[in-house]
Every structure is written in structure tokens, then in C-alpha cells.
Symmetry: C2
Subunit: 188 residues, 2 copies
DNA sequence: TAGTCCATGTAAGATGTTACATGATTCA
DNA sequence: TGAATCATGTAACATCTTACATGGACTA
């Protein structure tokens, strides 16, 4: 029977890394702890159960590596199902909800975009992200203007921090689109 | 017996809002869904259980509002323990771990800073945040420089997005410190 | 009377955190 | 021999998500 649970952000991070090259749980933990993907937990209590779930769902397959010395490692690879599921995740349209609640997951999706998604997916993703940011930022600005006088100073500043963060993201999005436009001769 | 569980980010958001003024679960849900705090879930399945936990732990107290018509509301107030717990949370030092894994919670802490924390806490918070950002950003830059050539293009771009987000946060932090310096005559 | 808003709640289920446990190998 | 590193795992616990349930009052 097919499990109908949506995979977590961690699950997709694992799938993406394993697709890049087969890796063990330990490899993945080390990757998280020693690269900017440090924003993911490298705790064994998160990673090993997540890998087992992926295996149960048929998205990865692990096999024990034979080697002398050292404790045996289980190396995981993506299955065809795993690759399909990852692609499905990558090509979902960018929703406001993602921008508001889950920007990190969105950027994770993008990070693997030109390795595993179809041609043009990265550019489409950026266009969608641009659209949602360009719609969301003014609504935050309007809230600030209307409520300035009723908000405590720190609250006001905190909101400005959020707005400026989204504005930086918007600038990045434009620059990234230009990159793809140039590199791939993509047109709107 | 005293419960030793750390409260969640949502729990502290609820405590801060209830401290501002007594509110019902419904008030809190509406606040989340209609302001930039939309980044919190307004789902009843998150909010009502969280309020019950806070009450169990003695951090809030709810009482049923008497009124004709409409269904009764339970209005919550902070207890002395709730206020103490919130202050304790606010004055924790800024750690790199917070910057890397939980920047949103950090900004929530700041958002209530000049209402409920002691004088000078906001400025100290900003100094700590500045220090951690100024230390973390170069380590991301160095990773990018060392690994540029081995990273896929989208991965590189995603990392740049993260760096630029942190840089925007750093600029904001400096500007906010200047605000407090001016307003309060605070000195380093 | 049907729909919408006010208002609070629970149930099932998955995921994540922290802490603990274990065992092999290498190196000082 | 003790410490560090490689390597995988489990247990307890809390929290969150989604979906469902309920019921009063207002209004078109």
C-alpha cells in the first residue's frame, strides 16, 4: 500500500544529497554539520529514522558496504520512485504560503534545481518566487504604515527587519533570473 | 511538580501577545491570520492545546467572560510565573545556534523587547546579534570561495541568497543599534 | 433556511528533540 | 590504555498538522 504522507523538508534534503551521490547516514550527518546546510539538524535521532522512513516508502534503498575494519556502513541510493518524488516536489508552483511560512524549504528546492529538474524549471521557479515576493512585500509595508503608531518600537523594528529580508530575497531573485537568462538563452 | 519542558516559539508568541493585553484563543488566532505574524499557524489544533499547556504550567490563567449572546470566550492573562518565564527567555544571550537554526525566534524575542524586558536589554540583544552575524557571515563566504567550483550553479546561487539574507540582517542590526543609541543615550 | 462568523475543542498521526546505548578502530 | 572518531541505532517525550466536531448568533 502506498503511504500518503507528505515528506518533510529534512526528507527532501536527504533525497537531494543522496541523489547527488550515494551516501550513508553518517555521511549525511557530517555534511549537515560541516557545510552551510548546518541549518539542518545532524542529530542521529533525526537522520536515521528519516532514512528508515524513506526506505519504507520505497524512495531510497540501502545496502551494507563490505570492507575490512571499521563498522559496516549502510549506503543509500535513490530508487526510481525516489527520483520521481523528488522531481514532483521540485516542480510544485511557488505559493504565498511557502514564502510566508517556509522560505527555507523553497530555497532548498532551488538549490538542487539545475541538477535534477527539467530544463527551464529553475527559471520558472524564480519567476514564481518573484511574483509572490512582489505581491507580499507591499502588504507588509502597508501594515507597517497603517499600524506604525500603535506598535511598540521594537515591534516596528522587527517588522522592518522582516521586510528588508524579503527585499533582499527579491533582489537576489532578480539577479538569479538574469543569470539564467544569460546562461541559457531562456526567454520569458 | 515543576514541568521542565522548554516552551516552543509558538508558546512565547502567545505569552507576549497575552502580556500586551488579555486575549482569548480566538483573538490570538485572528491576530496571527491578519498581521505579519501570519508566519505562525492560526490553526485551532495548534493554539488551543498550546494555551492549555501554558495554563497547566501556571504561566497563564484563563477565565470565562460573562456576556449575553454569543458563545462564551476564555480570556487568558499572564501569571507572575508567566511574566518571569518570558523575561528569562528574553534575556538569554544570542548564540550562533539561534542565528543558524532559529532566526525567526530571535526576532520574535526582539519584537517584545522594549515592552517587557529591562532597560538596555534591546541594545544588549542587538550587540549580541551583531557579534554572531559578523562571525557567521565570513564563514559562509569562505565556504563559497573554497567550494565554488565543485558546487552546481543553483547550489551556489542558493548559498548566495542565504549570505545576502544574513547581510541584510546585519545592516538592519546596525541601524537598529543606532536608533537605540540615539533614543536612549545608551553607550557601549 | 442557508451561509457566515464567533468560539472552542479533540483525534490521529508524523516528525523532531534530547539523551542514552553500543561497538569497532585508530592513534598517542 | 584511554580518547577520539567512525557508525548506527532506540526510547521517551513534546509538538505540530490536518481533519473533524459542535454550537450559538446574525443576516440575507
Amino acid at each position: 500500500m502506498i503511504k500518503r504522507n507528505p515528506n518533510s523538508t529534512l526528507a527532501f534534503a536527504l533525497l537531494g544529497l543522496i541523489w547527488q551521490e550515494p551516501r550513508s547516514g553518517y555521511d549525511l550527518r557530517k555534511f549537515f554539520s560541516s557545510t552551510p546546510m548546518i541549518s539542518f539538524s545532524d542529530s542521529p535521532g533525526a537522520i536515521y529514522p528519516a532514512l528508515h522512513r524513506l526506505e519504507l516508502r520505497g524512495l531510497v534503498r540501502g545496502h551494507v558496504e563490505e570492507r575490512s575494519g571499521l563498522r559496516r556502513r549502510r549506503i543509500f541510493q535513490l530508487t526510481a520512485r525516489g527520483r520521481a518524488e523528488f522531481k514532483r516536489w521540485q516542480k510544485q508552483p511557488v505559493k504565498r504560503h511557502d514564502v510566508v511560512r517556509n522560505l527555507d524549504a523553497l530555497m532548498l528546492r532551488f538549490a538542487f534545481m539545475d541538477q535534477f529538474a527539467e530544463k527551464g524549471a529553475a527559471f520558472r521557479f524564480l519567476k514564481g518566487l518573484h511574483k509572490e515576493l512582489a505581491a507580499y512585500i507591499p502588504s507588509l509595508r502597508e501594515y507597517l504604515i497603517s499600524n506604525r503608531d500603535y506598535m511598540p518600537q521594537a515591534g516596528r523594528l522587527a517588522l522592518e527587519s522582516g521586510i528588508q529580508g524579503y527585499e533582499a530575497q527579491l533582489r537576489w531573485t532578480k539577479a538569479a533570473m538574469a543569470t539564467y537568462g544569460k546562461t541559457k538563452g531562456e526567454r520569458r
